[in-house]
Symmetry: none
Subunit: 123 residues, 4 copies
DNA sequence: GTGGTCTAGACCACC
DNA sequence: GTGGTCTAGACCACA
């Protein structure tokens, strides 16, 4: 997954979302050690301070745990990750439904379109 | 619906999308006359030239028809609008599915979540 | 009240405590506007970023409210301030009791000493 | 009790306070022999010279008595220890009251809070 | 080497 | 003018 940040919102908050996604999707598995702040910053081509700020935010949320000298680790609390994953999903669904309703689709039409395209994308 | 334009993409292309949406959702009905370029530009807090460019784009696609002296009108070609509406919808569904799959959801889970939230949002 | 920061703990966290104290003691009254970040930073002889961080922390706690262009204001939620005031007080009492018990005093002795000295300090 | 020294004040003066506390609380009883300077220094992870300086200070105050060949002993003068104990206590009470008054508490409130928390901490 | 903190200086959006 | 964000570069404690 790429480190794509746009200039229209604070970088650190986009980083928070990207890392959240990586954790929820299992790219950074439960209990695993994250790369160091400096390495992550290099990867994402941002200043280490900015990455630090993002990681601090994730720590405050409870998704990461810091061991001062050893590095940062993904929480092992499955329920916490489940909760975050669900929050992200709910956001996506909400946005999606709003857009579709704006366009004038009703639930049945959305369901059908979704079913059709899922087959196509999985195929 | 608001005229919300972000500074991270060409404004005229955002305007195209916004007007498309208005046409597809029936806010600008088939065959109806659009407000003047100047009025639209004022509404959207945008330079008239930019709005002009957006409208020209829509005309090229066939969604708008200009009658030199009378103004611009929405096409009356239902199939054309249906096509555009479908294109927009397909984009949304595609984006949505990609995000959900990134998060690790499968089709059944997406369907369930969608059904639950639809009830909630309609309620 | 002076801006006394010691080099043995993060400055920003000391600033948080100092400002909390000012709010609880009424030096920054409920609903009042705080000096600007830059002015506060100058007053406390710290970098504006450090003061910014402290204020952000206080905002997250709900003690301050930011109005983007107008400045920062103390919350008007009395219960919130009462809660913080009580937390600070409980900390002080706890520390005090620990020290006195370490010294070998019991509750009756502490009470007496406190009563005597209170008279003296108020006198 | 731990040998906790912070880097923000002269170490030797912190050692003086820590040893005073130990004497007042009875950890080093009246008339008892103190560990050697070297042992104390090792315990406190401090340079022997620094510990030496602290002990010299305590001797000057009369709390310790050196017998050239036998080592250092805690004074047997009860009134002396009582006096020191009282000085320390008075300091703590003073600091405590100042902080509470800064916070806007009055004597009655302080008394109540103290009574409540004492029950809790003893319980 | 790790994370944590601080400073200096810059730019932005908003009004 | 206000707050908010970002970068660059430095120093510290810990192990």
């Amino acid at each position: 997954m790429a480190w794509e940040v746009k200039p229209d919102r604070p970088i650190y908050s986009q980083l928070i979302e990207l890392i959240k996604l990586r954790i929820c999707s299992g790219e950074y598995p439960l209990g695993s050690k994250l790369p160091s702040v400096r390495d992550l910053a290099k990867e994402a081509s941002v200043n280490p301070n900015t990455m630090q700020r993002a990681l601090a935010g994730l720590e405050e949320e409870g998704l990461l745990i810091t061991q001062r000298t050893a590095g940062r680790f993904v929480t092992e609390d499955v329920s916490m990750i489940k909760k975050v994953k669900n929050e992200l999903a709910v956001d996506h669904v909400k946005n999606f439904l709003e857009k579709m309703i704006d366009l004038g689709f009703n639930y049945e039409e959305i369901k059908t379109l979704l079913a059709d395209m899922t087959k196509e994308m999985i195929k």
